[in-house]
C-alpha cells in the first residue's frame, strides 16, 4: 500500500444557501497523479481553492492532512509553506521579467538589499533544466512561446520544493506537441516523488496521465478508481448522470429560410499566435431554429460567436445574413446588420453599471430614444417599463440601477437590450450562467417565443442538459474545429462529452 501524502476529509463549502461541496473526501498517494474530473460547476475549482488556502480555514467544514498531520491554511502562503503549489489554466507569469526573475518572484535572493543576480540565475538554471526548458534564464518571457511560459510556472512551483503539485486545466493554451512535452515532465516529477493533482475534463488526457481518477458531480464525490480499469464511457456517465426535467418549454416551430451562414471562420489564440483557437468553422442557422454550439472551455465556442459579432479579430471567407453577403467590421456594424450577442460574462461586459435600467435597455438602439439627437424621455420610460413587464424583471422602477438587481434580473436586462435591437440572429453565450432556476426557466420561455416569431438563435452553454433541452441542432466543437453535427433526436449528454473531450479520436 502506497503512502498517503494528502488527505482531505469531509469538506463542505457553502455559498449562501447553495452547497458547492458536500462532504468531499479525497486521498493522494506518493508517486501518483490523481485526476479530478467533473462538469463545469461540479466543484473542482472550489475544492482546489480550499486546498490552496484561497478559502480561509474556517470558511469551510472538513479537514486537510498532509503526511497525516492536520493543517490550517489561512492564506495561499500557508498552503505553499506546507508544500502545495498550484498551476492555473491561465498562464500567470510576468511577461516583462526574465525566466529567473519569474521563478524567484517574491523570493529574489538578496544580500544587504542587493539582488544576487549570479546566484539567482544559477539556481534558476537548475530548475529550468528540471522542466526541460532550454532557453537562457535571462530571456524575457515575452519572447517565449505559451508552452515555455507554462514550463516557467512549473519551474517556479518546483523552486518552492513542493510535495504536491496541483494543475488546473494546464493544457488549454497548449498545442498537441506541447501537451506531450508537459506530460513527459509530469511523469518525471511523479517518479521523482512529487504527487500531482490534475484537473481536467479532457478524458483522453486523463486516461493517459492519471493513476487514479476521482469524479465530482454537483459538489459531491462520486467515486475514485484506478484509471487502467476505467473506460471512457464510465467516466463520462459518472460525470453527467442527470435527468432532464420539464424545465425546457421546447416547441416544434416551423424552420424557415437560412438566416445566417459563415464559411471558414478562423481566430488566432490570444497567447499563442501559432495556434488557431477557431480553426476553419463553417455553419449556418435557419429562422426558427436554435443551434447549440457544444464544446468544452477552450474549444473555441465563445471565440466563434465573438468573432462573428466583430467583438474580437477573426477572419472568414464568406458571411451571409438573410442570404446576403455582408462584412462585419465591429459590434456597431453587427447590430446594424441584424446580429446581437449576449456575451458570456454579464458583470464584466454585459451592462453599464453607472446607467439605470431603462438606459441600459436602450443602449444598443439609442436612435429609438433620441429623436433627431434629442432625448425623448417618455420613449425611454416606456421602453423601460415595457421590457420590465415583458420579461418580468423584478425591479421597482425603470430608473433602478442594474447593480441593485439579482443576477437573473440583470441577465434579463441584458437580454432586453438585445431584443430591443430587433436582431435577425441572436447569439447567446452562456445565457443562464449563475442565475437561479426560476430565471432560467423564464429565459427558456423567452427563447421559445423568439424562435416562434422567426428569429434564429445560436446558443452556447456549459450546461449540457440545457442544450439537450432547448436546441434543434448541435455542432460539437473541440480544439477549434467542428467534430460532429447532431440533430435533436441524437442529442445526448454522454455523446456530447465523449466527442468534445476528444475521446473518439
Amino acid at each position: 500500500m502506497a503512502k498517503t501524502v494528502l488527505e482531505m476529509k469531509g469538506v463542505t463549502k457553502s455559498f449562501g444557501a447553495t452547497k458547492a461541496l458536500k462532504q468531499v473526501s479525497i486521498e493522494l498517494y506518493e508517486h501518483e497523479i490523481l485526476a479530478i474530473c467533473g462538469e463545469n460547476g461540479a466543484g473542482k475549482s472550489t475544492l482546489m481553492k480550499v486546498l490552496s488556502g484561497s478559502y480561509e480555514f474556517g470558511s469551510y467544514e472538513g479537514e486537510i492532512r498532509i503526511d497525516g498531520k492536520p493543517c490550517v491554511f489561512r492564506t495561499p502562503a500557508d498552503a505553499s509553506a506546507a508544500g502545495i503549489e498550484m498551476i492555473y489554466q491561465e498562464i500567470s507569469v510576468h511577461l516583462d521579467l526574465s525566466v529567473a526573475e519569474n521563478i524567484f518572484l517574491g523570493r529574489v535572493p538578496l544580500r544587504a538589499g542587493m539582488v544576487q543576480w549570479k546566484q539567482m540565475n544559477e539556481k534558476a538554471k537548475s530548475y529550468a533544466d528540471m522542466v526541460g526548458l532550454k532557453v537562457p534564464v535571462t530571456t524575457h518571457l515575452r519572447d517565449l512561446s505559451a508552452s515555455q511560459c507554462q514550463m516557467v510556472s512549473i519551474a517556479r512551483a518546483l523552486s518552492r520544493n513542493p510535495k504536491i503539485l496541483v494543475l488546473d486545466e494546464p493544457t488549454s493554451p497548449l498545442t498537441d506537441a506541447e501537451v506531450e512535452e508537459l506530460f513527459k515532465i509530469l511523469f518525471r516529477l511523479r517518479d521523482g516523488g512529487i504527487s500531482c493533482i490534475y484537473i481536467s475534463h479532457k478524458i483522453r488526457e486523463i486516461k493517459r496521465l492519471a493513476n487514479r481518477v476521482c469524479i465530482l458531480r454537483d459538489g459531491a464525490h462520486v467515486w475514485t478508481k484506478p484509471s487502467d480499469e476505467l473506460s471512457t464511457g464510465e467516466i463520462v456517465e459518472a460525470m453527467v448522470n442527470r435527468k432532464i426535467g420539464n424545465l425546457y418549454p421546447k416547441e416544434t416551430v416551423e424552420i424557415g429560410a437560412e438566416a445566417f451562414s459563415v464559411r471558414n471562420l478562423r481566430v488566432r489564440h490570444p497567447y499563442n499566435r501559432k495556434k488557431y483557437i477557431v480553426d476553419g468553422i463553417d455553419f449556418s442557422v435557419r429562422r426558427g431554429e436554435i443551434l447549440g454550439l457544444v464544446g468544452l472551455v477552450g474549444s473555441g465556442r465563445s471565440e466563434t460567436v465573438n468573432a462573428i459579432f466583430g467583438a474580437i479579430d477573426g477572419s472568414y471567407d464568406e458571411l451571409r445574413i438573410d442570404g446576403e453577403i455582408v462584412h462585419i467590421s465591429d459590434p456597431r456594424d453587427a447590430i446594424r446588420k441584424g446580429l446581437a450577442l449576449l456575451s458570456e460574462d454579464r458583470k464584466v461586459n454585459g451592462f453599464v453599471p453607472t446607467l439605470n435600467l431603462a438606459r441600459n435597455i436602450t443602449l444598443a438602439r439609442l436612435d429609438k430614444v433620441f429623436r433627431r439627437g434629442v432625448l425623448d424621455r417618455e420613449a425611454e420610460r416606456k421602453f423601460g417599463t415595457d421590457y420590465i413587464e415583458r420579461l418580468s424583471i423584478k425591479a421597482n422602477s425603470e430608473r433602478d440601477m442594474v447593480t441593485s438587481l439579482s443576477g437573473g434580473n440583470q441577465q434579463k436586462v441584458v437580454l432586453a437590450k438585445w431584443l430591443l435591437a430587433e436582431p435577425k440572429v441572436l447569439l447567446l453565450d452562456e445565457p443562464t450562467r449563475g442565475i437561479d432556476v426560476g430565471a432560467k426557466a423564464q429565459i427558456y420561455q423567452i427563447m421559445t417565443q423568439l424562435v416562434r416569431q422567426g428569429m434564429a438563435i445560436v446558443m452556447i452553454s456549459s450546461e449540457l442538459t440545457e442544450l439537450v433541452g432547448m436546441c434543434d441542432r448541435y455542432l460539437l466543437l473541440a480544439d477549434g474545429k467542428i467534430r460532429a453535427e447532431l440533430g435533436r433526436e441524437d442529442a445526448d449528454e454522454e455523446r456530447f462529452l465523449r466527442i468534445c473531450s476528444g475521446s473518439n479520436r
Binding site: 465591429d330 459590434p331 446594424r336 461586459n349 453599464v352 453607472t354 446607467l355 438606459r359 439609442l366 434629442v374
Partner: protein
Amino acid sequence: MERKNIFRQLLEKFIDIREAGVLMPLLLAILLFSAKSDKFLSVSNMTNVMRTAAFTMITSIGQAFLIIAGSWDISVGAVFSVGGVAAAALMSYYGFPIWAAVLAALVVGGIFGVFNGFLVQKIKLPPFIATMGTMYVARGLCTGYTKGVSVYPLPESFLGVGQGGIPIGNYELPYVIVIALVMAAIAGFALRYTAYGRRLFAAGGNGEAARLAGIPTVRVRFSAFVLTGILAALTGVLMASRVGSAQPNIGSGFEMTVVAACVIGGINMEGGAGSIIGVVMGSFFMAMISNGMTLIKIDAYWQQLVIGLVLIFACSLEYLRNRIRASLNR
C-alpha cells in the same frame, strides 16, 4: 424614532446628490466669508469671482466630458498658453484679422486634442503619460517660439472681449461670464439630453459593454479630446484678451485647477458619472476660495491647504456614498 427617520431620509436624499461634495463646503465657505467680510458678497467682488471662475469653467467643460467618457487630459494648461500665444502672435506679428487669428488658435487647440486622442486611443498610451508628453511639447513650443517673452500689443477691439461686458444699468456683466455660462448651458443640455452625451456616459461607465452595444467608444473619447483641446485654446484666447497680452507661462498649474474643479464638482475620475452643474459649482468654488481667503486675510500661502482638504472631502463622499447608504438601510 419618527424624528430619526426624517433625519435619515434627509441624509439619504442629500448623499444621493452627486454634487453634495461641493455643495456643503461651498455653502459653508460663503457663510464664513460673508460673515467675516462685508466686501465678499458685494456685486463687484462676486463679478470678480465669477470672471475668474469663467476661465476655469470653459476648459473644465471639455475636461468633464473627457473624464465622464473614461479618460483625462493634463495638457490643458499648456494648450491654454499655446492658444493665447497663437492668437496674439497672428494678430500682433502677422496682422491677421481678429476672427481669423482666433479661429486659427482654436484649430491649433483642436490639433493638440487630435494628437492626444491618437496617443491614447490608437497607440493606447495611458492618458496620464500621453497628455503629460503633450503638455511638455506644447509648453516647449510656446516658450521656444516666444523666448519666454509676452506677446503684445493686441488690437483694441480684441481686448474688448475679455475686458468689456454687457451694460445693465450701471452694472456691466463681463462677456467672459456670459460666454462661460452659455457654453455651460449648451454642454449641460448635450450631456443630459443628447445621444452624444449618453455615449460619453456609456463609454466611461463600462467601455467594453458599451462597445459591444455598438457605441463607437474610441470615436467618442477622441471627440472629447478634441473638444477639450479647442476649449483650452479658447480659454487662452480669452485670457490674452483679458490681460492685454499672451504670456507663454500663464497656463502652468491651470491643468490641476481644471481637474480639481471637475472632481470637486462630482465628476467621477473613473468615468461614467458627473454633471455640468457640478463643474460650474466646482469652478466657482475654486475661484471663490482664494478670493474669500484673501479678503478675510488668510495668508495666500495657506490657501492650497484648504483646496486640498476640500478636494479630499468631495471625493471621499463619492466613494463613501454606497457605504453610508448601506449603513442607513441596515
